[in-house]
Point group: C2
Amino acid sequence: MSDGWDYLPNIAAVRDAAARIAGHARVTPVLSDAALDLACDACVFFKAEHLQRGGAFKFRGACNAVWSLDDQQAARGVVTHSSGNHGTALALAAATRGVQAHVVVPDGAVKAKLAAIAGAGAVLHRCAATQASREQAAANVVAATGGSLVHPYADARVIAGQGTAALELLQQVPDLEVLLTPMGGGGLIAGTAMVAAALHPGLKVMAAEPEGAADAIASLAAGHRVTDIVPDTLCDGLRATLGEVNLKALQSHGVTVLPVSDEETIAAMRRIWRVLKQTVEPSSATVLAALLRHHEHFAGKRVGVILTGGNVDLEALPW
Amino acid sequence: MSDGWDYLPNIAAVRDAAARIAGHARVTPVLSDAALDLACDACVFFKAEHLQRGGAFKFRGACNAVWSLDDQQAARGVVTHSSGNHGTALALAAATRGVQAHVVVPDGAVKAKLAAIAGAGAVLHRCAATQASREQAAANVVAATGGSLVHPYADARVIAGQGTAALELLQQVPDLEVLLTPMGGGGLIAGTAMVAAALHPGLKVMAAEPEGAADAIASLAAGHRVTDIVPDTLCDGLRATLGEVNLKALQSHGVTVLPVSDEETIAAMRRIWRVLKQTVEPSSATVLAALLRHHEHFAGKRVGVILTGGNVDLEALPW
């Protein structure tokens, strides 16, 4: 599935990733607002990864993967499948090394994201919107080009790169009690949970998952990957199926995954736009939706959350 | 017109204002983006005053005015007329001192802004949308309450407060060559021009004005205030008529005012939302519109611009 990279990295790999991407990735700011704190009954620190290069945290993992290749591998380019932010991230990361990125994009992806992938210099390959089509199409491109597959989340290099967001957040706000991220394929949460466990063993790690794509919640309950859920959520960044290695990370670090409805997410998204004045995409807003709905987990605590991305079609807002 | 405060402050007044509002106002960040720099052919530093308290730079001037009052004056409250951001700012500033704010609001103001003024604790007084009605209604409230009028822009305390935005920007980015702000009633540009002249005499100061409310451009051309222009622009924050003292500031500091169309402003606003991921209001976007349309003034230069506010009706976006 991911070219032999489908294992969990350790904290040393995250530190290596941070060194590797420094100078390419941005150190993103941390935002907060007293009115939102009051509404959440918590001190909330929003790590603004929508201000990362390419408008999403995904650049961290993609950049680490691209710069982990040796020169011969890099010269043959990189390949992935992505409905959006990982594709743009890989294209931008490839450009920092002067190599070609190929991105397999499923039908139904957000227009603004497709334009961004192409604008970042990738060659686009269309496919049907199923997980199987995506992986098959990517395998075909790998076979044709000799390029290196960089899986969007089930990849140790990608997970280590995504872990640098939490590493950076803990440097900016050291005394957090909970970390909360959106839950998609599981690259970000795997990196985040590992960093938390290594640096602050008492730090609780949670994730927010759309009810319409709750395969992580189902997988944790079943004790194995549940892969037959057809995602039905406007959080286009969170439709991917949890990876095998990502499920292991959730299990071994005792991550709690909290469901949120799209309605709650839309309300939270509007609130972030209105109060924080940040144009985050729906996926990012799941964390505020979870803070408000599941407040018993956060009351009185210092909570670090990751605003994962800000790539939206401004013509097609969900309100 | 403004209770004896209609004169231009000096740099000492701005420094006093900075000390007075410290602890109440936020130090706002400066944003930049390589792609926007490329588009503008300039190094552009966006001072993010839409992240100021109340979502606009206006809090600086209002807060300075409120804390300039003696205790007896303050106890009788403060009064202003405002279609939006100055009203919210004065209400928030009054709350920091535990006194009442009265805000005269003209018909046709942006719904989100009225809600914000009321939410900040002000007593609202409606009036017709003309400048004369606004000033008469405010005078009536002053007569009834004994409160202090804090004019939105033709007021030395307000101008000194607004000047702290440029003071702060020049501390954050010392080597700027041009400062550019939106042009409304002229409080911000008066404070900005004075700070520039006092600290960096070679620093060029410019303003962007909507073609549909270009009374500042007309006034500079005529050599006196032109007050018979009926504003027709979606930049709701820039419909006010240039103040007398504000015109003096434009003249004495040689400020160049650049026209921009609403169409250019809307395109610039979308670009700021899309690229910087910041939900700024139309008025704020006039500066990027001016950078793009009048690039001959900015080519190759380091330009500091002020994103003045971020209060928009998310249900009524102009695209």
